[in-house]
Amino acid sequence: MLLLDHLWIIPLLPLLGSAINGLLGSKWPNKAVNSVALGTTGLSFLFAVEAVREFLSLPQDKLPFPPQHYFDWIVAGNFRAGFDLQIDQLTVVMLLVVTGVGFLIHIYSTGYMAHEGGYYRFFSYMNLFMFFMLILVMAANYALLFVGWEGVGLCSYLLIGFYFLKKSASDAGNKAFIVNRIGDFGFMLGMFLLFRTFGTLDFVTVFQKAAPMQPDALGHLGVLTVACLLLFMGATGKSAQLPLYVWLPDAMEGPTPVSALIHAATMVTAGVYVVARSHVLFTHAPTAMLVVAIVGCATAIFAASIGLVQTDIKKVLAYSTVSQLGYMFLACGVGAFSAGIFHLMTHAFFKALLFLAAGSVIHAMGGEQDMRHMGGLSKKIKWTYMTMLTATLAITGAPLFAGFFSKDAILLASFQSENGGATTGHALYAVGLFAALLTSFYMFRLIFLTFFGKQKYDEHHVHVHESPWSMLGPLVILAVLSIFGGWFALPSFWGGPDYFSNFLAPVFGGGESAAAEAATHALELPLAGVAVLTALIGFVIAFWLYISRPGKADALAKSMSGAYNTLLNKYYVDELYAATVVKPLMWISTNVLWKFIDVGGIDGTVNGIATSAKSIGDTVRHAQSGNTRSYAVWVVIGALVVIAVIFFWPAAGLVSGMVR
């Protein structure tokens, strides 16, 4: 019971580390900064494990574990938002992923960033990020969750723009923050609506009040549907779905560990977490679920198609992240919340591994990120190659690797989805399957271009060397997790229980596994086979284009140059946004807000008052002419005014009976 009463320790430790490093660490040697940063994060991980252990050993009657209230943050009239932390099965999963993967990435960073300037700043920001992310996953009300939400956005901005002297990096940081803000606007509106409907933002109360409510009919925009759609708008911003995904590829300007931690494993999964946490609301709003599923599916295939032709190794992985997040939203959209969280967990493992390994490759190549200038590295950086291959097998869904189970569960659930009609479910399945094919293709393309084929770089300029063990250690650990991390769901294949979804059943309800259990198993094996087959087809195509016939890829690109260029330029979405949104906004800002309102209106008013005071003075000056006759005239005017007031203004009340 000890730690469960003091859950605040878990987020507070990284905050402490961040403060120490940030305020005092600028003159410290790297080792000192390391010890603070790694120490606090490691301790946080240990405490998280301990908290999980205590939670799992709670007797049945103590569950669900009530939220721990630490202090009142906002008390205003009827509204009360406290600093409340909670722990349940969903939080357990997120906690372990965040602290565990986060800790591994911190270890990796000590090696990767060893020669960079601003070392202390980097770790300060990373620890700050851990703090906010932990607040996000442990919050027991939407307001505190939003604090974490915004905080991780801030840290993302700080870390993407870590090399702030480089214009593209600081621009990318701006872009991330601003696009996120657009989503946050929707999130806030959703929160306001929830408060107005339920009178509180605490999860427990909101979900209790929402559970007995009548679900909204499909197509009907009831309160719950609108609230869910607004929350999802926030999720599209944070988790980089259509149309607010544009910041994630640019975010690759940040150092690679940042991409691994924030833009693969943790921050971008915050949107999925929110949707999963609010599943009670979403299940009452079928329209919102359908929208989530369709957006997720569309994003999956859209991003996968762009990733087919990218040449920067990190950009391929970025689009891959967007695509995989689409899968997670597809899962939530069709009601398979635990499948979505499962994929979140496995994705954290293999995507972090992919990014870290890519960082290792970049480190080995002395900073080169373009895959066209790599090749034949498999013999030279063995450990990096093997771990990256493991992760690739996981993401494409090779049998028994982690991604296989999770992706399979998602595709099965979408195939069986009834929301919006059975054909919608089948369509979602088909598109998802095609996206899996594309995923397999571009991942193996990445492997082949980077590690096989002819050496396309100059030996004399680039000294390829393996990375230090501070970097390789986490790679190996994550590789192990990528293989075994999915085995929770293994027994369900031969009729046994799916441990993962059973573990999450107290949160999501057993409904998704109970009724369809029988039908599920009948379809599960055939569909799994189809998925493996598509992955294999992708592998074969990649092999053919890049290994057997090396020139074929370029020839194909030239022959379909229109489609190729569109994909290479990311469907010109950035240009579209710049023209339709950014440019008009800048125009309005310059001409209306600045020139018209600020300079003309506000400055004009202030200056105008001064000017008019001056000109009034100038005009009235002439009354004092020194000329006696003019004065005489003024006297007469005054007399006239007095007479008029006395006789014609009843309010003066001076002469009452005289004038009829």
Binding site: N627, V633, V636, A639, L640, G657, R660
Partner: protein, 167 residues
């Protein structure tokens, strides 16, 4: 047309003509003489109304003292025909409209008012002079004493102002 009305119109016409003449004449002495005409006709009007004391005081003080003072000053200063300067623009522009407005105001107010009772010829029942003196030395004795003081001050002031410079 009663006799009083006829006399009134005659005297009124005289007064107005005098005032007009005051405006139109170019030499100040002519204006002074016109003013005397106005005062005499006003005295006549007072008599018509039955206010003998006021009429007498008007002629003696106003006509006999004040206007004489004016005439002497005009003589002393050798006032000549008026120059026709026109420095003040305001007077030129606003002068006539103002005068018209003022007259109009007053005319409207008077026309609308209901003080239409006749001013009567007071008989001896209200013996005028006695009545005035009773008031003057009973209710208004304090202002009366003050006015005598005022006259003293005025005399002193006039002497101080008009004396020659001590070289």
């Amino acid at each position: 047309m009663t006799p009083q009305l006829a006399i009134f119109f005659v005297l009124a016409a005289l007064a107005v003509l005098g005032a007009l003449s005051l405006i139109m004449q170019r030499h100040p002495i002519h204006s002074a003489l016109s003013l005397i005409v106005v005062m005499i006709s006003l005295a006549g009007l007072y008599l018509l109304m039955g206010a003998e004391f006021v009429a007498a005081v008007q002629i003696i003080v106003y006509g006999g003292a004040i206007m004489v003072l004016f005439v002497f000053v005009i003589m002393l200063l050798n006032a000549g025909v008026e120059e026709r300067t026109n420095v003040s623009k305001l007077a030129g522009i606003a002068g006539i409209p103002l005068a018209v407005a003022l007259l109009g105001f007053l005319a409207v107010v008077i026309a609308r008012s209901n003080a239409g009772a006749d001013a009567g010829w007071q008989s001896g029942a209200l013996a005028n002079t006695k009545e005035i003196s009773m008031m003057l030395f009973r209710e208004f004795v304090y202002p009366f004493e003050l006015t005598s003081f005022l006259i003293l001050v005025a005399i002193l002031g006039a002497i101080v102002l008009a004396q020659r410079e001590k070289n």
